[in-house]
Point group: C2
Chain length 293, copies 2
Amino acid sequence: MDETEALAWLQDRMPVGDDCFVLEGKEADQLLTTDMLHRSADFPTGITSYTIGWRSVAVSLSDIAAMGGEAEAVVIAYGAPEFDGEGLKDFVAGAEAACEIGGARIVGGDLDRHDELTVVTTALGRAEAPVTRNGAYPGELVAVTGDLGRTAAGLRLFESGETERANELFRFEPRIELGRELAPMASSMMDISDGLARSLHQLARKNDVGFRITENKIPYSRGVEELAESATEKEEMGLFTGEDFELLFTTPEANEFELAKSGATVIGRVTEEDVEMVRGREVVPLEDQGYVH
Amino acid sequence: MDETEALAWLQDRMPVGDDCFVLEGKEADQLLTTDMLHRSADFPTGITSYTIGWRSVAVSLSDIAAMGGEAEAVVIAYGAPEFDGEGLKDFVAGAEAACEIGGARIVGGDLDRHDELTVVTTALGRAEAPVTRNGAYPGELVAVTGDLGRTAAGLRLFESGETERANELFRFEPRIELGRELAPMASSMMDISDGLARSLHQLARKNDVGFRITENKIPYSRGVEELAESATEKEEMGLFTGEDFELLFTTPEANEFELAKSGATVIGRVTEEDVEMVRGREVVPLEDQGYVH
């Protein structure tokens, strides 16, 4: 069983499958989400403790953002081979900085000695009307926040030893504020954790729809423009790498003007079926591939 | 910096230090707690996936119990070298069984490939009047739920290959129900994660008090009685090993009769200072030592 199969099995059994679990409340619903990051998979050589702290928190806040929620509290389980003072302090400073952007606070945690640096953040949020992954309708627009390929560019820079800029790229902004602004317009929303292509397929399956996006509308990150040496490489970095945690959402066409003000980028439309990309004069299938955590 | 120093540093910086973080609400407060368990530290050879699932959830529910709360929802981050179907199913079955006892439900999670089996559970609960670690007063009674040394006995049995009974001992009951029953009586409460001795010292420091407990009142687990080969070994298993997750609490003497009905055991009294144990005709200091996670 790989992670995809295991997740499918769990989804049949439990109410998982959206970015957060929703606990219904009287005035507002509560949102709960948890994420595990660890050295070998998520923290490349050259990453600072500050960036690790930031990123660990930001991935969970991003799940709250994806439902249009406010963030309230974060707890962190931190497992490390040793607790050197500076490393832990920098980790906490980075985590607090990400929390500040997201309007949350760190309220507790667990420390554990662990051979491999492993961080699990859990965020609790709230939303009056959480936006789920369900609700996209053919004819609607599909759009993304920010730009794509930032993490892919960061990974390249870590490899080539340009760690300062790589660390900057890795400290992405959790889109809490923008998520709340977009929520009233969005018919469905999620954060892009495994790359745009895979996220579009997930949204397509969930809504029994398709997507047609236009390649030259994709907001590639500046790092991608600079580092990619071919069109294929550019697509690889911007569409199939993921971990950018920008928001992907659908919205009725009537919101196009409002949307433009938010700074989000319309990349295409919801269709009846198939996930496709217009590249020049061609329409090509956009494969369901991406980063597997 | 070891874990104790790291925790002390964090406690100065954040509102940690009780079993759960408390988010104040209108009708009831919410409780949030997170715990990391992993193979090398927490899952001995011979432990089943079912027991791992059970125990992972139960440690977090125990934190809710320690504040007299009801459990609502649990999220689990599960990192494993591989996702074999049976292992994951047994893990979930065990986690669900512990949830059922605690009145909670598993609402989501994260799956991750990790070289070392690592499980982080986060529980969300609620309490109208959470019982904190703060509030013990000299002259009050100090008491524990259940019996002590169960995990120490389990560890011995894992070592000697008696895995069936060892697994049973490892599946401790999260004391949610009893915690709620005791909450109105308890002036302070915590769960015993690092052994009775260390927990008494933690409670003593927090309240600026002492404790005098009586050795022959300590409810040693049957496993301890059977396996310990000397009085020293018995104390080692029952007082200094921990991970039993029973509740330790203080209560005014007026509650003695009510307390007896609950099945909790009075083991001594809150004093002005020092943590001591009456052993026969002697009064000996009870050292601040225990299991370090």
